[in-house]
């Protein structure tokens, strides 16, 4: 099996090297990366992997075309790189299989299906003591119910992987597949995506300001922009970060879990043995799988509300 990873990236130099190295050691055979006007050293990191034959870099500029760019990469994976399966990633996401390797679980998908969804597991920022993000960020968010706040970075969601398909159409964020010749398995999540959206004050402000002003003015980015413009960035980031007290509270009520899987995988990559006292059993998986389903019902309800409003508009015009 040939496993190809697509990556859409812009200015993620603090994490992208780790992300690519991790996946190339986790079963990915080749990476196709769309580089959207990076200026922080991301381009040079991508080029170094390209020189070694592990990656194809596609430079793009102008307006962000998230879904089309992801679809283009997935198409190339099928037509020019001989992929059997494709995982679609962002620079802050680390795919991990629940059993065996990524290739093991994808290889176990019945022939009649070709799309699966990995469950995103969000990690909260921790106070920045200068340590590497994976060493610090071991607090994973595990809410007992879906957080449906449209401005929250912790809303439950899924990420799509699929068999090769030249004509595939992937949604914004690759949370779903818009068009494919393959049938999807919706209720089985053989892989997880360990997600590290905010890692430091500087990265949070930079990402928030850029996205709020440009390609994606989500509430979480607008919050960062407002705080940054008002000189309150550090104060606001402190409310986002999980300090020791919040971690203790969260662990006590089960909303936070210490998860060192990425930390230990990266230590192993760097030749350092994992600590002996590592990870606890993942008791939140079932409730989070339910939460992502509930969140999808909420998203669908909100979409239907929008349609309903449009119908009401037509009704009013016809009177």
């Amino acid at each position: 099996m040939k496993l190809v990873q697509t990556l859409l990236v812009r200015d993620e130099a603090d994490i992208v090297d780790t992300q690519i190295a991790y996946h190339l050691n986790a079963g990915v055979d080749f990476v196709i990366a769309t580089d959207h006007e990076s200026r922080d050293g991301t381009t040079e990191i991508l080029e170094s992997y390209a020189r070694d034959g592990h990656l194809r870099r596609i430079p793009v500029s102008g307006e962000m075309l998230d879904g089309p760019w992801r679809s283009h990469m997935a198409g190339l994976a099928a037509t020019e790189h001989g992929a059997d399966w494709v995982i679609n990633t962002d620079a802050d996401e680390f795919w991990i299989s629940r059993h065996g390797t990524l290739k093991d679980v994808l290889g176990a998908v019945p022939d009649s299906y070709g799309v699966i969804f990995a469950l995103s597991r969000h990690f909260a920022p921790r106070p920045d003591d200068g340590a590497f993000f994976a060493e610090r960020m071991t607090a994973r968010v595990s809410p007992p119910a879906a957080i449906n706040d449209p401005t929250s970075p912790y809303r439950p969601h899924l990420k799509a992987a699929h068999r090769a398909d030249p004509g595939i159409e992937i949604s914004f964020g690759s949370h779903t597949i818009l068009r494919s010749k393959w049938r999807a398995i919706h209720h089985w999540h053989p892989a997880e995506v360990l997600h590290f959206p905010y890692r430091s004050l500087r990265q949070w402000e930079k990402k928030g300001v850029r996205r709020a002003r440009g390609d994606k003015p989500l509430g979480q980015y607008v919050t960062a922009l407002r705080a940054s413009e008002g000189g309150r960035g550090a104060e606001r980031f402190r409310t986002l970060a999980v300090d020791d007290d919040a971690l203790a509270r969260g662990r006590a009520d089960g909303s936070l879990v210490v998860d060192v899987r990425l930390r230990d995988a990266l230590r192993a990559l760097r030749g350092k043995a994992p600590r002996e006292d590592a990870p606890a059993a993942d008791r939140g998986l079932i409730s989070e799988s339910v939460a992502v389903r509930d969140a999808d019902i909420v998203r669908l309800t909100r979409f239907v509300d929008g349609l309903s409003a449009r119908v009401a508009d037509l009704e009013a015009r016809g009177r």
């Binding site: 007992p144 879906a146 449906n148 401005t151 912790y154 409310t239 509930d294 019902i297 409003a309």
Partner: protein
Amino acid sequence: MTTVVADGVETLDSHIAFHLNAGVDLVLVATLGSQDDVATILEPYARNGRLRILHARDGGESLMTDLARAAVTEHAADWVIPSLPTEFWWPRGESLKDVLDVVPQRYSVVQALVRSFAGGGGEEFFADRMTLRTSLLADARAHDESPQRQLRPVYRAEQDLVIHPDDWTLGGRRVPLRAWYPIEVFHFPMPASSIEEARLGERVANGELVVDTRLRDALRELRDERSGGFGPPTAGEPRKIAFRVPTIVDDASYAVECAAVGEVDLVRLDRHIRELELRIAALEARFWPSVRRALRRLARRPS
């Protein structure tokens, strides 16, 4: 914010002072009747320019709509909160503006989760004596209650705004933000019934009521120690209430309560889609006859 005041209310002064410190720019108050005590409370705020008094003859259904439209057309409001004097709208963010500013544009109604405070006997100031409120974490009855009874709407400004207590989400052109409530409404029903007071201990023990001192503590910051009253904020003065932005641990717990409201589920979604289908069918039934009529008219025209 709009408010209708029907009689002298113990909470009125603190209600206005609190919201002016929570991010509200202007309060439009409709007074029913002419109580001197109400006028005494309102006038300092009106002189300060942060409150406008409108005298209403009766409290008819259109009064809230009139106030909301005045807020939009005469005071350029971006959002309108139709409130009662016994309610305190508590933002789950730095201020009411902070939470409303980041609501995606496609939503025109934000809903707030009602927290009813219980108890209430005694001579103490209401916020000092009423610190027990309902919780949805343990209250299984919440599932039997209509979601709308547990929610209150905030409206994004529009010219033809209509405020109707029974319809802020369904059927209209407004799109509500469902299943997440970035504002809590602390409601202080007055007076509390003696039956309720007798059951307070039992309700605390079974988790229906929890201690919540957020409003008490906030009003202590605002209250003038000498006079015991409140009054308008001074221009340029920093806000006296510092609202705490919830952490992810707070949000995880709140998510359970939002789910307990039961506003969104597959059954309701199914019903909603079927209603929509009927409305689309009615539109289709109107559309084709009108197209045929238009074509016939065109055919009759001399070439």
